[in-house]
Symmetry: C2
DNA sequence: TTAAAGTCTATAAATTCAATAGAGTTTATA
DNA sequence: TATAAACTCTATTGAATTTATAGACTTTAA
């Protein structure tokens, strides 16, 4: 994720460094927003890429590729030809953020050596058994998984309706 | 963080894509490992860059820049000239992973719109007040902060000693 | 005075991210 | 059955970031 946050540091190559954040990629954010849009339109027929692109301000060509990937993962289904478009392949309750993030960005863990799906041996610690750093990141991973697996498209759209309701001016 | 995990996908530009993970950068991992090493040698005089580089398998020149940055953040102190090196500026109890990660990689939050230190308005959701996506990521952020702020260098080295002890063969 | 060790500026190579171009295929419907 | 709408797929590009290296400079102990 690119984001310019200028730091004044004496080291040349770090002086006007754009801080990279440990954040979701744009691709992943786009995917989530597109899915939420489709969840709102669940059971209302196919939605065109152009509509999602317009509503969520996502570059159309980039969105095409993202939706295609979601279709291959059997999260979305599409209908080709005139009157076609994309729609959810499963119920909104059955799609959670863990699956979407893993598909788009890969591991949820902050270190490869604590990742469940993308595990990789850590170069720096000689002995994983006695590495005191891993524990904290295992805890973070588990909490993240717990929270994001509860966040389904159904839960998100429900929450949006609640927030919209409470934001309305009272009679 | 670069890591090659090949996916077989029909889309050309995503076929042999190297999955990017939402992970700590190498720079940040190196920083943590270097700090743990210095915490182990707390109050034992300056430790040379070369020693840390050798022990933790970190490229020396890269490590130099990292240690310098940690010194500017008043986490480390250095001694120049012969017999010089780096040592902790504060007690190991007073350096936690939140500070180190924020310094090296920036925000801990997974989305700019839920970040405390690097907040940025979200382009995709028109109205932040009624966005149903933010809540989950606020929860993740808070749990991550809670866990990593408890992870101090003192806690990590203590844990390493415990693990080393329990890994020993019984008499 | 000299060797050891950190400081600093500059640059390079590899990789990733985000986006775009354009031809091809499928389908509803006039 | 022709046509326009809409998804599918391959390919490529440009910019930015990450990681690493080169080399001159400064400080200090002995």
């Amino acid at each position: 994720m690119l984001r310019l946050a200028y730091k004044s540091l004496p080291i040349c190559f770090m002086r006007f460094v754009a801080l990279t954040f440990i954040m979701l990629s744009k691709k992943c954010k786009y995917a989530i927003h597109a899915l939420v849009h489709l969840a709102e339109k669940y059971n209302q027929g196919p939605v065109q890429i152009q509509e999602i692109s317009d509503k969520k301000h996502i570059p159309k060509k980039f969105l095409e590729a993202i939706l295609l990937e979601l279709r291959h993962a059997k999260i979305l289904q599409s209908k080709k030809g005139k009157g076609g478009g994309y729609y959810l392949y499963r119920k909104p309750e059955e799609v959670n953020l863990v699956e979407v993030i893993r598909l788009m960005d890969g591991a949820l863990a902050m270190l490869p050596c604590v990742s469940i799906h993308y595990y990789e041996h850590c170069e720096e610690c000689r002995n994983e058994k006695t590495c005191g750093i891993r524990d904290s990141f295992i805890d973070v991973r588990d909490e993240t998984l717990r929270i994001l697996s509860r966040s389904t498209l159904a839960q998100i759209t429900k929450r949006e309706r609640q927030l919209a309701e409470s934001a309305k001016p009272r009679k």
